[in-house]
Amino acid sequence: MKNARIVAIEYHLPGEILDTARLSAEHPGWNADKLDQASGIRQRRIAAAGECASDLAVAAAEKLFATGLLHREEVDFLLFCTQSPDFLVPTTACLIQHRLGLPSSCGAVDYSLGHSGYVYGLGLAAGLIASGQANTLLLLTGETYSRYIHPEDKSSRVIFGDAGTATLIRATDEAGTMGPFVYGTDGSGAENIMVPAGGARLPRTQATALAQTDENGNTRSENDLRMKGAEVFSFTLAAVPASVQQLLERAGCEMSEIDAFVFHQSNRYILEHLRKKCGIPREKFLVALEECGNTVSNSIPLALKLCRERGQLMPDQLLALVGYGAGFSWGAALVRW
């Protein structure tokens, strides 16, 4: 049986910068300095009008091709994780197959997950390779949550940034390159990170477009993203340490054998609490969100690549990845990259 291996990761960030100074100028009452100090986010990158999540992912994929590590005709499967598809129909991955000039023998599928999406994508890729269905996969993530955020919603606007990433995954005979995996789902928490209107359950109407201000001073309509911070944090406190524990048990390894932990980059305050709660040494816990914010399913591959560029990660290290968020959905995996 073949195993899956991450060969390379590339990313693309949109050009517009929403930094602390701009937030402070636009919203003097928000105390953006203090918020950004706590979250560790100094700027977010925002997609331009008309720039889609797929555009960001395609730009990242083109960077992968430019490395010369793979040829377009080699790709036999394309996975695209997004909650910002180009159209309701058809599948955005099909459009990306065409744009990237991938062969027509290539399978292509979208899947909708938020902050846990990258770990699930690795799991799907590992399964496709282990079952002999694919050898060379592109796992793309792309997200433009900024489109879903009301400009007066402090709770989300200070956190989220847009991004796209591309990961090349190949079949290998080597052992221990990807897995085990741990997954979890609690749909009872669905409403805590949600865009209520715009899908089949609640189509957009004039009524859903009416903005209201909540008790914390955040303004949004049902067409916009809402995130209930306390509920999300409470879920995270339960799910993340347990999934780290399960992952180590399933792998039969000690924490000391892991070279680095890369969690979904939610915000520094929450990450630091989770690090302490899990008992992970500071030097093994990577944080990379200062320049891009919380980029949803992009955050883990983005952090992996940024940390490699900064020299905080070396090739062939054993890494524990943990994604958690909208759904509620979470997943953890070991990878050697």
């Binding site: 914390n216 001073g217 911070g229 305050y269």
Partner: protein, 74 residues
């Protein structure tokens, strides 16, 4: 963590001088008791007792003393 330490931590979360916060203070009267402070309280309670709390339980609290009791302090 004892009640004095809890009060000091809560005062910091609420951006108050530690002598200005009392156990009997009502949450609705505290200007900075908001969603950010609630996240801070969740982290504090988690560190202090590891007890799993739901935001609904927190919203049912009326005073700082209720929060201390919910966190299993004192």
């Amino acid at each position: 963590m004892d009640k004095a330490a809890f009060l000091a931590e809560m005062a910091e979360l609420l951006e108050l001088d530690s002598s200005a916060l009392r156990l009997e203070d009502k949450l609705e009267d505290l200007e900075n008791w908001n969603s950010m402070a609630m996240i801070g309280y969740l982290a504090l309670a988690d560190s202090a007792s590891g007890k799993k709390l739901s935001p609904r339980q927190i919203r049912e609290c009326e005073t700082i003393a209720d929060l201390a009791q919910l966190a299993g302090i004192g």
